[in-house]
């Protein structure tokens, strides 16, 4: 059944006779026009990447960041309407702060996804608002260490907290994707935006969800993320793009549990490999002569 002309698609929160909220579906269309975003959850961390289409030569290169930090250990990337994404991030930061105020400890990735899922869902409930025109990917590393309570002044009892199961680990890398409806799932690899189909196909080839957990390491994931963004970029339709990548490792890894931009050298190396892989692909297809080296 088509939505247009029925009148059921003219306002948010209205069900059509077959039980759909067309305004939410239209919001998804706004996402599908946006630059591709992906997230990869690997063995020792999470990588986020986004394809930023350069809409004007006059934009200052590298200045307009699209991946934002929430608290210290979480990163958010999104596809769709950028101002809506900014709003999403502000709300996520407010949630993270409120969580700290209440529980004196950083919010976990799952809890932030839950709070933000609830927030987006609320924007599908009323005619007085419109849904968010974004799909957001939240990546985070919940600390496996026993964190001090915020504001703690001393060491407390020396014998440590009880009730623990020996050998049981806590925390780790997590990845969630939230849609305009407020629906969210946890992912091994997530993709949204214009090039999501191609990106998903590539993500599925990676070793992310094996029985012993993902095998891919953080550095490999950075390179795969760059490759996937380059691969899903549609040169025929879009002009140039800028690749932005961030990562989060555990406390023993390169980012020490913090969400940070991937260092320039590593990003450039990943981009070089991505371009090389693209060229190799093209050559294979064209059955042309071998590339040098």
């Amino acid at each position: 059944m088509t939505s247009i002309g029925t009148g059921y698609d003219l306002a948010n929160s209205i069900f059509s006779p077959d039980g759909r909220n067309f305004q939410v579906e239209y919001a998804v269309k706004a996402v599908e026009n946006g630059g591709t975003s992906i997230g990869i959850r690997c063995k020792d961390g999470v990588v986020l990447a986004v394809e930023k289409i350069i809409t004007s030569k006059l934009l200052k290169p590298g200045a307009n960041k699209r991946i934002a930090t929430v608290d210290r250990h979480l990163g958010v990337v999104y596809s769709g309407m950028v101002p809506d994404g900014r709003h999403f991030i502000e709300r996520a930061r407010d949630e993270a702060r409120a969580w700290r105020d209440t529980f004196k400890t950083p919010i976990s990735t799952a809890d932030l996804a839950s709070r933000m899922g609830g927030y987006l869902q609320a924007y599908t409930l009323y005619q007085s608002v419109r849904p968010f025109g974004i799909t957001a990917i939240i990546g985070g590393f919940d600390s496996p260490a026993e964190l001090p309570v915020d504001g703690e002044v001393g060491s407390g009892p020396a014998c440590g907290a009880g009730g623990k199961v020996a050998g049981k680990t806590h925390g780790g890398p997590f990845l969630y994707m939230i849609e305009p409806s407020g629906l969210y799932w946890g992912y091994y690899g997530a993709a949204t935006g214009k090039g999501r189909q191609a990106a998903k196909a590539e993500l599925e080839k990676l070793d992310l969800g094996g029985p012993g957990g993902p095998a891919l390491t953080l550095e490999q994931a950075v390179k795969e993320a760059a490759r996937i963004i380059y691969l899903s970029h549609d040169e025929s339709k879009d002009k140039e793009f800028e690749l932005e990548m961030t990562w989060i490792s555990g406390p023993d890894g390169p980012t020490k549990g913090l969400h940070q931009e991937v260092p320039k050298e590593l990003r450039e190396e990943a981009e070089r490999l991505a371009k090389k892989a693209m060229e190799a692909d093209e050559e294979d297809e064209g059955k042309e002569e071998k590339m040098e080296e």
């Binding site: 698609d9 003219l10 599908e32 200052k60 307009n64 101002p83 502000e90 608002v129 419109r130 025109g133």
Partner: protein, 267 residues
Amino acid sequence: MFRNNYDNDSVTFSPQGRIFQVEYAAEAVKQGSVVVGIASKTHAVLVAIKRNAEELSSYQKKLFPIDEHVGIAIAGLTSDARVLSNFMKQQCLGHRLTYGRNIPVRTLVEMIGSKAQINTQHYGKRPYGVGLLVAGVDDHGPHLFEFQPSGMTEEMIAFAIGARSQMARTYLEKNVAKFADCDREELIRHGLRALKESLVQDRELTVDNTSVGVAGSVKADDGSVKVEPFKVYDGQDVAAWIESVADDKEGGASAGEGEGEGMEVDS
């Protein structure tokens, strides 16, 4: 004009995922006269064409100082610009009072971005009908930002908004590589040349219709930074600059090139 069912308010998506009310608000920006901004490593400048309603009336101001280190250029609904300008002034003063420093320019711009985004998501509100160029200096040097009614804010090397601004943007794109190393005067001249590109036939820059605004942060050899507060120049103060770009062919007069958005509201 065409009408459709999805353009009555800013809380309705079209089947393609567009919000027409926001797009229409962006059209209002093109009704305003053109403003140009450029940032180099040391300075950020704004230049603007002022309009007068009739021969004997005064000219509508286009450049406004916000704080010591920030100024804006506006195109579109002046009264909406005033709301944003007042808000920005308050934020600057508030920041100065609580932290004793200049607010970082990006922080300030993102604040109006967030404010504008709210207006695109709630029934009964309307998007701002104004676009801004925000120029300022902070600890990271000079900056130029563009603000759109959608709440989109982006840092630019140079930009132009307003009527026939496409011509100015074409000039800026051609010269974009030069701006970073321009000195103060060169930067202003580039701004004025871009402005001239956007003028309709047989109109020219005069001391009455031209405004120039400059902020700078020049790093001395000993590492200390000398901040030049944002200042707007009008009237005879801009005469020398206008003179310096008169009949000047540098940058190539791109006459006959692209009519831009084709909205010729200047007459």
